[in-house]
Symmetry: D2
Subunit: 146 residues, 4 copies
């Protein structure tokens, strides 16, 4: 059972904008990448065949608060914590730490477990399969922010 | 004084992902584009020289709730409403309407007025200049969601 | 039969990078968008069911030469010309015109007609269906650059 | 003196499109990232203050040929080779190797050495500074493709 994960990334040129900082939309891509690496660390994938069904995790909600900018070549550490788990959904919290381990942003994403029909691409929410649910648990309340 | 704006967009191929729908991060880009078109409709720019200073609008917070997916070539209308205005910040609310005028997502972005030092790229928050503030007002409470 | 198309676009904030100009990879997205609008103007789609098969156009080759930078809020016109058409492929040429109608870039994309298996996502090249091929023709040699 | 570099990357969800494969524009971002890691491995940066001037490397030309698709979670190795070096420019060649070390794409980028005026963002091409030029050399002719 895992409830926490850390992912390191160096800011790329293409992630910046003309203000000289990381474009705000890219924090969401970085949160998602951290989520996917977390799943991968558990032997799971965000988009996989499970018992003959294509199971994916469409996003229900996403948010981010920006506390300080990130710039080109900054090393950033993203700390993921599982903050909620229901029958069909998981809420991840993310904290971004930049140079000197200073927190620069904080966000969350809520994902819903769903099957995708390969022909129509239609999504239907489903209970989280046991093979996935038994590997992910909510972080203890004492796992508070630094 | 303006408090509302509508922007139309047709979903592009590059905005989709392998799940066959618009990637969730692209809703934030589309909110931003709507904000910029709103400013442009008022003769303003999100990144402009004002009285010899480079004035920009870094994001303090952004969020989105996803209600139904958007797919390639869908026509989407984004409805912007000014939901809050303080001395130094503006909060925009966005609603996304897809095919058959069905609402498919809803979000908000809070931006802070700031100057950027052209040499160091450092940002400093400032009171919203009058030339901008006098053109933007909070939407009336009765401007409720459809 | 069509061999030429023009698409207008205003440069967005998210298309710029910290050098203050449009990131070079975004010219390829803009070429693709122009291609898709061209197909749409002919009643076609780049990704469509034709006679029960999912027909798409994977890229075989893409290139771009950059002559002058584009910056935020520039209005750009992209001129597409069909430069080649074989049994299974089409080559589009693109010219980018920025402020004052100055040419700022030039590129090309070669696409191959293919079916996608909805289950495996595997692509197989096919002869261009008549319903598509009869609407697109190579630009006359005299359609030279301005 | 270096003329070759290898960069490994795992394909991210956000890099795919609705055809289920990596969007063709993302190969250019991956080429650029490899170039930047190459410079970084030499103690250089693609965007740096050198003797009080902001030196950057705008792209003059970019191209890519696609031989086989890449899909989500594929591990890809990008092999960079310096293929040309003039007084003011460098041409990098890139080969992409996917699963089973199969080559899936091949491209090149030509970059020009330039200074950026911090006020106007105007770029002016300059001879490659010695501190950079003495670290980068053209790959020997015998460094042929596998």
């Amino acid at each position: 059972m895992a409830s926490e994960f850390r992912y390191r990334h160096r800011i790329e040129f293409a992630e910046t904008d003309m203000a000289g900082i990381v474009h705000f939309s890219n924090y969401f891509r970085l949160m998602e990448r951290t989520e996917h690496e977390f799943l991968r660390s558990l032997g799971l994938s965000v988009h996989a065949d499970i018992d003959g069904r294509l199971v994916s995790w469409p996003r229900a909600r996403a948010e981010c608060s920006y506390e300080a900018p990130l710039t080109f070549e900054d090393e950033v550490e993203v700390l993921l914590r599982v903050r909620g788990k229901t029958r069909k959904s998981i809420t991840y919290e993310f904290q971004f730490f930049g140079p000197h381990s200073r927190r620069v942003a904080r966000g969350s994403i809520t994902v819903v477990c769903a099957t995708i029909d390969p022909q129509t691409r239609r999504m239907t929410s489903i209970p989280i399969p046991d093979a996935i649910g038994e590997k992910i648990e909510t972080a203890p309340a004492e796992a508070e922010d630094p």
